[in-house]
Symmetry: C2
Subunit: 130 residues, 2 copies
């Protein structure tokens, strides 16, 4: 889980792909897209690199109620929404409330390093269907 020290074209392709997407793909989605350019890339390589990049703070891992993690190339603090219809993960474009973390730290005495705010419900598409 250490930061990458040697270049690899696979890692570059993975990061490039993630940056090109506004949604937040799962490892499997990344894998299947990268395969178009690098047909023999291994799923393990995708996971390894996503983990490395996340550990290095270059990308963000999003753990939602679903069982599969999603990944986000935007590491600026922002909020997410997970649709219980399609399991898609989208951004919520509102400015973060830093006072939330401050308040929580005051109240708890814990060393709070991160605040994850995840909304859930139904997205535009699923709102109508369900």
């Amino acid at each position: 889980m250490s930061a990458p020290v040697k270049y690899s074209s696979q890692r570059e392709a993975i990061l490039r792909f993630l940056k090109s997407r506004k949604d937040h793909p799962t490892a499997d989605v990344v894998f299947h897209h990268i395969r178009k350019d690098i047909p023999n890339i291994s799923l393990a390589t995708v996971y390894r690199n996503l983990n490395q990049l996340a550990a290095a703070g270059i990308i963000l891992r999003l753990t939602t109620d679903g069982k599969t993690d999603h990944f986000d190339a935007c590491v600026e603090p922002h909020y997410h929404f997970c649709c219980r219809g399609c399991n898609g993960v989208m951004d919520i474009d509102m400015e973060p409330f830093p006072e939330l973390t401050k308040k929580a730290e005051e109240v708890s005495n814990y060393k709070i390093e991160q605040a994850t705010i995840l909304f859930s419900g139904l997205c535009d598409c699923c709102k109508d269907k369900l």
Copy 2:
């Protein structure tokens, strides 16, 4: 995943155990504790009942960065903290911000049913050790 319709002593024991705990045990922890009273209870029964109770809104499922879910007998809206040292999940005793959800719904157009706020970092114990 439907609500329970028949009584079972196993379910009662699981719910009673959950209510007795301030931390938020995993299915496995519930299983091992219930086993002291009901030695031949099955892990599947624990999972089945935790799922039912959560679906019925009687308990809360907490999905954290760790790989295993935690369960909470308190369904009042409140915030949680997950320690990256010991993977424990604790309550944060501060009043919720309902305006968060309202704002997010305005901005996004999604039907937001739930807001999950999860802080993470180091708890009192792990703060010193790490």
